[in-house]
C-alpha cells in the first residue's frame, strides 16, 4: 500500500531531488518511519523528542495533522501527505 508523500524543496536533498515519493504505513508515524528507512536523515527533520517538529507542517490531503490525530493519524492508500516547512520568523 503506497501513500504519496510530497516533499518540500529543502528536504529533497534526502530524496535525490524527487518532489514526491511513495511510502508505506497505516499511520503518519509509520509513514515517517518508512520514509526514514528509504531516505535516511529525513525523519530527524520532521520529528524531535516531543513528536512532530513545531515548525514543520504535515497535511493529510488538505488537513493539518495537528487538527487530526497528529502522528497517530490514520492514512490509507487514497491519501496524500504533504510536508511544508512553516514560513515563520521573528
Amino acid at each position: 500500500m503506497a501513500i504519496e508523500v510530497r516533499v518540500p524543496t529543502i528536504l529533497r536533498v534526502y530524496t535525490g531531488g524527487q518532489k514526491s515519493v511513495n511510502a508505506e504505513g497505516d499511520t503518519l508515524q509509520a509513514v515517517i518511519t518508512n520514509l526514514e528507512v528509504n531516505y535516511p536523515g529525513i525523519g530527524g527533520r520532521l520529528l524531535d523528542d516531543s513528536g512532530l517538529r513545531r515548525f514543520v507542517n504535515v497535511y493529510l490531503n488538505d488537513e493539518d495533522v495537528r487538527f487530526l490525530d497528529g502522528l497517530n493519524t490514520s492514512v490509507g492508500e487514497q491519501d496524500a501527505i504533504t510536508i511544508l516547512p512553516a514560513v515563520a520568523g521573528g
Binding site: 529543502i10 515548525f55 497535511y59 493539518d64 511544508l84 512553516a86 521573528g90
Partner: protein
C-alpha cells in the same frame, strides 16, 4: 541581486505599514526557475505579534498548492520588523526553509503606519548563512 518592480515594492511597504505595529508577511510568486517576482500575495500573520510572524497553516497549504498548479515558486518571502532594523533575526535565520527565495525585510520602525522613511533590504538565507544582496527596483 533582487530585481523587483516599483509597484511590488510599494505593495509590500503598504502592507507593512497597514499591519504596524504587528509584523506583516507575504510572498511574491513568480514562474518556477525565472527568479522574477510578479504575483503579490499578502498573507495573514497568524501570530499577530510585533516580534513574530507565521503563515497560517491552512493558508500555507493553499498557497503552495496554488503555486504548484501555476508552476510558480516563492521568489520573494517578505516580512516586516516594526521596532528593529531590516536584518534577519536569529529566529528568521533558523527557520528560513526556502534556500532559493529572496528574503525581503522591511522595517517600519521610523514611520510606523505613516508615509515616511522605511528600510527595504533583501537577503539569501541558506544553511544558516545570511548574505545581503542588492535590490534593483525596475
Amino acid at each position: 541581486m533582487l530585481e523587483i518592480s516599483r509597484d511590488l515594492v510599494d505593495q509590500i511597504v503598504r502592507h507593512a505599514r497597514a499591519d504596524h505595529p504587528d509584523e506583516a508577511c507575504g510572498v511574491i510568486a513568480g514562474p518556477a526557475g525565472s527568479g522574477k517576482p510578479n504575483r503579490f500575495i499578502a498573507m495573514i500573520n497568524a501570530a499577530r505579534s510585533p516580534t513574530f510572524y507565521e503563515f497560517d497553516s491552512a493558508d500555507l497549504f493553499t498557497l503552495y498548492k496554488e503555486m504548484d498548479e501555476r508552476d510558480e515558486e516563492p521568489v520573494v518571502i517578505y516580512h516586516s520588523h516594526t521596532a528593529t532594523e531590516a536584518y534577519p533575526s536569529r529566529t528568521d535565520i533558523s527557520l528560513a526553509a526556502e534556500p532559493g527565495a529572496h528574503y525581503v525585510l522591511v522595517s517600519t520602525r521610523q514611520s510606523g503606519q505613516n508615509e515616511g522613511p522605511y528600510e527595504f533590504r533583501s537577503y539569501r538565507i541558506v544553511d544558516g548563512v545570511v548574505t545581503e544582496e542588492t535590490v534593483k527596483v525596475i
